[in-house]
Symmetry: D2
Subunit: 225 residues, 4 copies
C-alpha cells in the first residue's frame, strides 16, 4: 500500500501544456519508467480532468491537485472529494500556493482525506505555517517558499535553514509527519541537499515537466541518493 512507502518524489503537473491530456498520459508513463528503473517511489498530481485516463494507463500513485471543502450537492464547477476518490487516486495536494485555502477549509479537506484513506500532502509557505499545519496531522507537509517557485533556485540552497527549521518545528508537534521540500528543485544535487536537510522527499513541477527529456530529468534527480 502506497501510504507505507514514502513517495520520495511527487510531480505536480499543474496546468502546463506538457502535462495536459495526451501529454499528461505520456509523461505519466515516463514517470513510471523512471520509477521502475531507479526503484524510487514517484507519485504524480495531474489535473482533475486527466485523472481517469492516467490512472487507467499507469501503476504509480496518482494524487489530485486540489479538493474543495464540499460535500455532494449543488456545487457546480467545484472539485468534489468523492468524485476525485472514485477515480482511484491515492492522495491529494492540499492548499498549494496556487490554490490557497482558508484555515477552516484546510481542516475539512485533511479530515476528508483521512476518512477516504487518502494520503494528504499539505502545502505550506514557511516554518510558522508548517508548524500550524502539524496540528492537522496530514501525512506530508510540503514546504514551498513562494518566492522560489518556478525560479530554478532550490530552497535547499537558497534557504537551507527553512527546511531544517520546518522539520524541527513540525516534529515538535507531531513526529509522524513527513516533510517534503518544494520550490526550485530540479537536479540530483538539489534532491540530495533536500534529503540531507531532513526532508523525506520533494514536490516539484516545472523543473521536470519543462525538461527536454522528462524521463532523464527524473533519473538525474535521484542519481545522488
Amino acid at each position: 500500500m502506497s501510504k507505507n512507502k514514502t513517495p520520495i518524489i511527487i510531480l505536480n503537473y499543474k496546468t502546463y501544456t506538457e502535462s495536459t491530456g495526451k501529454n499528461a498520459v505520456k509523461l505519466s508513463q515516463y514517470v513510471q519508467e523512471a520509477s521502475d528503473e531507479t526503484g524510487i517511489n514517484m507519485a504524480i498530481a495531474p489535473q482533475a480532468v486527466d485523472l481517469y485516463p492516467i490512472i487507467e494507463s499507469v501503476d504509480i500513485p496518482v494524487y489530485a491537485q486540489h479538493m474543495d471543502a464540499i460535500t455532494p450537492g449543488g456545487h457546480t464547477g467545484s472539485a468534489l472529494p468523492e468524485a476525485l476518490y472514485e477515480t482511484g487516486i491515492e492522495g491529494s495536494l492540499i492548499n498549494h500556493s496556487e490554490k490557497r485555502l482558508t484555515l477552516a477549509d484546510i481542516d475539512v479537506v485533511v479530515e476528508k482525506t483521512r476518512q477516504l484513506d487518502l494520503t494528504s500532502v499539505l502545502c505550506t509557505n514557511n516554518v510558522k505555517t508548517s508548524a500550524a499545519c502539524a496540528s492537522f496531522n496530514p501525512d506530508f507537509i510540503a514546504i514551498e517558499p513562494p518566492e522560489l517557485i518556478g525560479t530554478g533556485i532550490p530552497v535547499s540552497q537558497a534557504s537551507p535553514e527553512v527546511v531544517e527549521n520546518t522539520v524541527e518545528e513540525i516534529h515538535k508537534i507531531n513526529k509522524n509527519i513527513s516533510v517534503l521540500c518544494g520550490a526550485g528543485i530540479s537536479t540530483g544535487e538539489d534532491m540530495k541537499a533536500a534529503l540531507d536537510l531532513g526532508a523525506q522527499g520533494v514536490l516539484l513541477a516545472s523543473g521536470i515537466i519543462k525538461a527536454e527529456n522528462q524521463k532523464e530529468a527524473l533519473i538525474d534527480l535521484v542519481s545522488l541518493i
Copy 2:
C-alpha cells in the same frame, strides 16, 4: 454539428452523488436514451473529473461546468480550458450561480470558448445582468433567478415576466443569442411554459437528477412540446 441544433435541454450534473462517477456514466446513458426516444436534443454538463469516461460512453453533447480564465502554466487545481477541450466537450457553462466569475473573467472565458469553437452557455441571474452579457455574444444565456434554484418553483411560473423581459432585452442588443430558462424547472408544464415565454430551452439539475426514475423524468419534461 451540435452548434446548429438547438440543445433544448441542458442537464447540469453539479456535484450530486447521483451524478458522480459511475452514476454519472449511467445517468448519461439515460439522457442519451431519452434524447433518442423523443428526438429532443439534450446536452449534459458533468464534473470535470468525469468528462473522459462519459464522453467515451455516450454520443450526446457534453459540456464543462466551468472554465477558469487561465492559460497553460502554473495554476495548480484550476480548470484549464485547453485541458477540458481535449476531452471532446462541445461547450461549457460559464458563470453559474454556484461559480460566479468577475466580469473581466467572463469576457476571457467566453472569448476562449469562441476560439476553441465551443458552445458557450453564460449563466445570469436577472434581466439586467442578462442584457450586460449580451455584449459578450455567447451562444446561450441561461437566466436563473438564484432565489428559485433548487426550490422546484419554476421561474416560468414564479416570474414569467423575467423570462419575457430577458429575451426582449437580450435581443435588443444581439438577436443571435438564444435564451435558456433555468431554476425550478422539472415538469413538462414548466418546460412548455418556458418555451411559450420565448426561451429556446432549459438548463436544469436537481429536478431530473434527484428523480426516482431519471429517464422517465426527462421524457415527461418534453412531453408537452
Copy 3:
C-alpha cells in the same frame, strides 16, 4: 496599557444598522459607561469606516474587524494595516468566520499586528483550527463554532467540551495565549459558564447589539462574574 489588562468582553459591531455610523458612536458610549460602571474591561470592533469618529468619542480599546495581508501600494478597496493603525486602534480581529483568510494570510496579519504592537484576536471554528493557530502566537484565540453564530445558543452550553478542549490544546502549544469564547453568548449565565470552562473572556455581537437596551444587556452580561 490595554494589552496587560485582559479585555474580558470584545463586542464585534459587524455591519448591523444598530452599530453603524452615529449609532456606532452612541453604542460605543454605552459600552464605555457599562465598562466604567462595572469595572470590567470591554473592547469594541467597529467597521473600518467608523474607527476615527469612535476613537475620538470614547476611551476604551478599539479594534479593527479585519486587516488585509497587504503592504502600502496599489490595493484599491482593501484594508491596509498601517491605515487602520493610524486611527489609534489597539488591536484587530483576524480571520473572523465572516471574513476567512488563507493560512498564509493569517500568518502575515498576526505578524503585522505584532510589529505594530497591536492586540491580535485570531478567530477559529473548532479545537483543531485553534490548536493550529496557537503556532502563530496571537494574544487571543476566539473560538466560535460557526453553526452557533447568531443563534442565541451559547457555545458554553451547546458544546462545553469544545471550550475546554480548545483551552487545553492551545495551552499545550503555547501557555501565553488567552482563549475567548464566541457564538451565542448573550446573558450573564453564558458569560459565567464561558469563564468557568477556562475562557478568559467572550467575543460577541448580535446578543448585545440587537438588545433593546444595549447598556443594560452589557451590565447583565457581567453580572455573575
Copy 4:
C-alpha cells in the same frame, strides 16, 4: 450638486503611504487647492477608514473606493454601502481592477448607489466589458487596460482606439454614460489626449500621488485643457 458637474478628474488614493491617514488629509487639501485655482472639478477616492477625517477637512466630492454587495447584518470586515454613505461621500468606484466583483455583485452595487443617489464610477478593462457595463447605467465608466496601470504609459497614447471604441460602444447602448480614461495618465498631454479621444475625464492614482509636488502635478495635468 456634484452630479451635474462632470468631475473631470478622479484621484484614486489606493493604499499608498502618501495617501493614507494624515497624508491623505493633506493630499485632499492640495487637491482642493488645485481644483479651486484651476476651476476644474476634482474628486477623490480615499480608503474607507480615512473618509470621515477627509470629508471634515475639504469641500470637494469624495468617493468610496469600493462597496460590498451586502445589506446591514453579519458581515464582519466588509464595506457596507450604508456605512460609507453616512460619511457624506458623493459616489463610489465599483469593480476597480484591484477589487474585481462578480457580474451579479456589480449589478447590486450600481443599483445601491442609485438608491442612495451616489455617483457610480464603474471600472472596466476593455471595450467589451465596457459595453456590457453600459447595461447597468452607471454615471461613469472608467476604462483602465490593466496592463497599463501604474506604468506611466497612458492608454490615450498606447491604445487610443481603445478609448474611442469604448466611447462608441457605450454610447450605442446608453448615451447618458460618461467615459473616463484611466491607467498611465500623469501629464497635461495625457489628459488632453484623453479628452480629445472622447473621454470626459480621467481616473488616476500613482502619477499624482507619487509626484514630488502633488498639487503642481494636478495643476500641470489640467494645463492644456
